[in-house]
Subunit: 214 residues, 2 copies
DNA sequence: CCGCAACCTGCCCTTTGGTTCAATGGCGGT
DNA sequence: ACCGCCATTGAACCAAAGGGCAGGTTGCGG
């Protein structure tokens, strides 16, 4: 079992930590440049209260002061944004300051096995976002279009005007319009802007009324 | 401790599972419509070998057969895509079939505390993707616009027409156009479509000639 | 008070986008 | 040969977008 170190500005509170790890040390934030722990020999629990020192920056500093040590952030007011920021900065865990000892030990166990600990809420958001992301990559909408319609639709999704597309494909502007009208119909959108949102995979696409099919 | 059930097509292998959970049952895949476990009373470990039955669909079926039960997917050939798919489908864990008993117990503990278990590799990818995503949300372009211009710009980026925006903001359509003209000018774009691409953070935005400023 | 920026609007105009009603020709399947 | 799908186009038309000109209000800092 590695050495556990709690970093906090208020060294007098939070008995849950002592309960979870009786042998842990409890320290104030270290000064920049100091050595906090032997490389890789400790687990750092970082308590952040507000956003006065940017939590993400703090994590990066601590990482320098204790190279190779796992850093877990405990936040008084956890938010998905903050969690994302600290994890991006290199933390391996993010949870509420008020977590009960059992959960703290749980997290420690996961971290010591090389895992990352993320709260269910944030994780759900991550998964949803990622799924939406991959959905927009192999975006099946284009399969509904004919070869030529696809070309035109992609050009529109890139921001081109009808005239530009006509020049690029060496067809008349009228034909561009014809392909577009067909594409709108097939994809159930109203105009080129919504076509673009659909193809580019906008976060929140308004699901238009699909217009009576015939 | 809840009942653990292993679902696999090959009921003869994987002694690690028995080691981790000596009292666990081991069953073949259930037929559609059958009741697999009492609602919420079990943890289902689902072993998937290839992608013959789509793992995600399988998860959804199992979820019906054992409502309220946590489902953890064990994959012979884990991949980020597969992990993402099964988590999206409702699984609460995803790991390698070859996980050692200690890790299996670890996962079980996390799941029983209401957590989700995701391998570090996938999690890292999720975080990176999410970070990229949020970066494009608070994109600095909007800061160049006035409060009102920002509102209409966002509406346009969502696919709204001038008429709709006018109604929503309770201003005349002419004013909407005025705000838009100003926004185009400030952001150096030509029309609403390119505005949308800029704000929604299109992958490859054609960086238009910024039109001689004056 | 004056200048300035933001916000709001009407009138009128041009350009672009989108549709309706056509028609022509190729190509593959029945 | 015929049908369906696709690509192409013209003429005409209407709606939407975009912008020039002109004019208002409000609020804020010098």
């Amino acid at each position: 079992m590695k050495q556990h170190i709690f970093l906090t500005r208020r060294p007098d509170a939070f008995p849950a930590w002592n309960t979870a790890f009786p042998g842990a040390r409890r320290l104030p934030y270290p000064a920049s440049g100091t050595q906090l722990a032997k490389p890789g020999q400790a687990v750092i629990w970082l308590h952040v209260a507000g956003d006065k020192p940017d939590p993400a920056l703090l994590v990066q500093e601590i990482a320098l002061a204790a190279p190779g040590c796992a850093i877990i952030v405990l936040s008084n007011v956890p938010s998905d944004e903050e969690g994302l920021a600290v994890l991006e900065a290199g933390a391996v865990g993010y949870t509420n300051t008020l977590a009960v000892p059992e959960v703290l030990r749980q997290i420690a166990a996961v971290i010591e096995n090389g895992g990352l600990w993320v709260g269910p809420g944030l994780l759900q958001r991550l998964i949803a976002a990622m799924a939406a992301n991959s959905a927009q990559i192999n975006n099946s909408h284009l399969d509904k279009l004919s070869a030529r319609e696809k070309e035109v639709a992609l050009a529109v999704a890139g921001g081109a005007s009808n005239k530009e597309i006509a020049r690029r494909l060496e067809i008349s502007e009228r034909t561009v319009k014809a392909h577009l009208t067909a594409a709108f119909e097939r994809l159930g959108v109203r105009d080129r802007l919504q076509l673009s949102l659909l193809i580019n995979g906008s976060p929140q696409t308004t699901p238009n009324q699909p217009k009576t099919v015939h």
